[in-house]
Symmetry: C2
Subunit: 359 residues, 2 copies
C-alpha cells in the first residue's frame, strides 16, 4: 500500500511518473535496451535530454537569456562552483545566513572566494528571513546569495530582498513551487530530489551575460560556460536522474504548470498552519508567521513523549517521514509538489484526532 | 527484441539486473514507496548504500586501508579533485599521456596543481602504452597518473609502470575487468557507466594514509576526507546509480567475481582480435598488439564505404553501438563485463560473413 511520504528529501514523486518509468525501464520505446544502457550521444538519449532541458525552461518560465545546466554533485558542489566561477579579482559575495543551508553555502564558498554574511539570523534564532533594510551590502559586492527556503528551520522568503546587486538563489527545497523574479537573479540552483525528481542531478539556471565573464582557469567540470556550451553533455551526464526530471516536469505541465502548483503549495501548507493555529497551543510552530515555509511545516507538541506518540500514530495511519530534523526535534511535514492534497488532509485529521485524545 | 549493445558507454548491463530493478521500482520491498523517494537517512536506503559500498570493496578486492567513495560529476570532476586534494605545496603530478582521456586529465588538473607529462604517446600516434623506462619522473613528483585503458584509441596498460612514486589510475573503462596491484596505487577512480552501472556516479578508492594529508581548504564536496568520513553521505548521494551499482556488483560476485570476469574479458576480446588477425588484412587494427585493449576493440575495413556497409549489416543482425569514435572512424566494439559471449560470437560471425561477401 502506497504511503503518504512527508520526507524532507529525497521525497515523494508522482505515482504515475514512477509507473511510466517502470514500464519502459528494461526496453525503452522498443529500442531493445534500457535508456540507461544507451550512449549519451545516441539520438534517443539526446531527445530525452533536450526535452528535459526544454521543459525545465518552459515549466519554470525561465527567460531566453538564461542557460539551463544539469550537473552532478548536488547543490553542495554549487556552493563552491558559484564563487569559483562568478567572482572576479577584487569582488566579494554577500550571503544571507538564515539557517543550516545558507550557512553551509557561505562556509563552503569561502574556500573559493571572498565572501561575507550580509545578515545573520542568529539573533532571531533563525525564526524568520530578513527584511531588505536589514541586509547590509558592502563595497565591491558582486551578488547577494539567498536560500529561498530553509528545510530545517521551516522558513522561506515570502518576498526576495530588493537590493542593488544581482541575487543568486539556492532553491533546492522550493524549486518549481513558486514563481521566480528572474530579472533580479543572475543564477538560481537546486538539487532535484525534493520537487523535481530523484537525487543525482542539480539544475542551475544562469544568465548568459554572466557566462561571458566566468572564470576559465578551472577544470572543465567546474566551469559553467563549458556545461552551457555543451548543453550539459560535455561529459556523460547523470542520465537516469535527468530522464526522471523530464518526466516530472511533463507531469507538472499537465497539472497546469507553475500557477497551479504554486497555488496548491500555498493551500496545502495553509491547511497545516491553520490546524496549528486552531490548536490553542497544543501544536506550536516556532516560525515567524511572515516567514512560514510552504514546503516544510515544522511544529512541536507539548512534550517529547507526545512527539513520539504522534509519530507512531502517523505510522499506523500510513504516513511516513514526519520526524523533525535531529537537531530540531518535533514534527516536520514536507509538502513537496508531488504530495497529494489527500495526504495533507490525512495529516490534519490526525492532528485533530490526536489532540482530542491527548489534550 | 534485446540488442547486443556494443556502445562505448553508457553501455549494456545485465538483463537480470534490469529486470530486478524494474520489478521493485515503484514499491521497494513493500515499503510503500520507491527507493528513489526515500530519505537518504532512512534505514532502508542506508542498507542499500552500505551494501553497495561493501560489495565495491569485496568484489574489487580492495585492501582494508582504502576508503570507497561514491561521487557525482563523473571521472571528469576527479581530473580536478585529484591535484586539488593530493598535491601539497611544492609537489608535482606526473601524467602518462596515452590518448584523449589522459590528455583531458592532465589539462583539467593543470588548473589545480603543478602537473607535467612524464610520457606522451604522440610520437607513436597513441598506438601503444609506454614501457616503464620511457616514463620520465622529475623531482618533487607526488604521483604518476595513468589511464589504464583508453576507450578511443583502444589501448591499455597490460602491466602498470613500475615507478618510484605512487600511481593514480583512471580506470573508468576497465574497472572490474582486471585485477589491480593495490600496493602500487594511492588512488583509483572511474565512472560507473561502462562496467558497473548507469551514469551518474564515480567510484573512487583512496588510500587512508592519503586522506590524512589531503587539502582541507576546499568546499566540502571537493574534499575526499569529508566524503570518506561520511561514507559518501555528507550530502544527498546519487541514490539510483549507487543502488544499480550494488546490484551489478552482486551479479558479478555471483558470476564468480573478478577472476572469472577478468578471464572472460580476455577471452571475449581475443575472439575479435583473432578474427582481425585471421582476416589477411581485410580487418585492420591500428593498435600495437602489446597494448591491445580488452574492453574496446578498434578496427578498420578496407574503405569507409565498407565501414558503413558493415555497420548497416550489424544493425540488421541486431547489434548496435559499433560505430567508431567520430575522430577515429572504423569500428569500435566495446566488450564490457555485461556483454555476453554470444554477442561477441555474433560479431565474429558477422566479420567472417562480411569478409566472404566483400573480399
Amino acid at each position: 500500500m502506497r504511503k503518504f511520504n512527508f520526507s524532507a528529501g529525497p521525497c515523494t514523486l508522482p505515482l504515475e511518473v514512477l509507473q511510466e518509468a517502470q514500464a519502459e525501464f528494461v526496453d525503452f520505446n522498443g529500442t531493445g535496451m534500457s535508456l540507461i544502457e544507451m550512449s549519451h550521444r545516441s539520438s534517443t538519449y539526446d531527445a530525452v535530454h533536450m526535452e528535459a532541458m526544454a521543459l525545465a525552461r518552459s515549466v519554470f518560465g525561465a527567460p531566453d537569456d538564461f542557460s539551463v545546466l544539469f550537473l552532478g554533485g548536488g547543490a553542495t558542489l554549487q556552493f563552491a562552483m558559484i564563487p569559483m566561477n562568478v567572482l572576479r579579482p577584487g569582488q566579494r559575495g554577500a550571503y544571507v545566513v538564515s539557517g543550516e543551508w545558507s550557512s553551509k553555502a557561505l562556509d563552503d564558498g569561502s574556500h573559493h572566494g571572498d565572501l561575507y554574511a550580509a545578515w545573520d539570523g542568529k539573533s532571531v534564532d533563525y525564526k524568520r528571513m530578513p527584511t531588505t533594510d536589514e541586509i547590509e551590502i558592502g563595497p565591491n559586492t558582486r551578488y547577494l546569495h539567498v536560500t529561498s527556503n530553509e528545510t530545517i528551520g521551516g522558513i522561506r522568503f515570502n518576498d526576495f530582498p530588493l537590493v542593488d546587486v544581482p541575487l543568486i538563489g539556492d532553491m533546492s527545497s522550493d524549486y518549481m513551487s513558486r514563481s521566480i523574479p528572474w530579472e533580479r537573479f543572475d543564477l538560481v540552483y537546486g538539487g532535484a530530489q525534493k520537487n523535481l525528481g530523484p537525487a543525482g542531478v542539480d539544475i542551475t539556471f544562469v544568465r548568459n551575460s554572466v557566462l561571458e565573464e566566468t572564470n576559465q582557469d578551472l577544470g572543465a567540470y567546474l566551469r559553467y560556460d563549458i556545461h552551457a556550451a555543451k548543453n550539459s553533455m560535455y561529459n556523460t551526464p547523470p542520465v537516469f536522474p535527468i530522464y526522471m526530471v523530464g518526466k516530472v516536469l511533463a507531469w507538472m505541465e499537465a497539472q497546469g504548470g507553475l500557477p497551479v502548483i504554486e497555488s496548491l503549495a500555498a493551500q496545502k501548507s495553509s491547511l497545516v498552519y491553520e490546524a496549528i493555529d486552531a490548536s490553542d497551543g497544543f501544536y506550536f510552530s516556532p516560525v515567524d508567521p511572515a516567514s512560514r515555509s510552504h514546503m516544510n511545516v515544522v511544529f512541536r507538541l507539548p512534550s517529547e513523549a507526545l512527539d513520539g506518540e504522534f509519530l507512531a500514530e502517523a505510522g499506523r495511519r500510513n504516513m511516513s517521514g514526519l520526524k523533525g530534523y535531529r537537531t530540531a526535534g518535533g514534527v516536520r511535514a514536507s509538502l513537496y509538489n508531488a504530495m497529494p492534497v489527500e495526504g495533507v488532509q490525512a495529516l490534519v485529521e490526525l492532528m485533530a484526532d490526536f489532540q482530542s485524545a491527548n489534550a
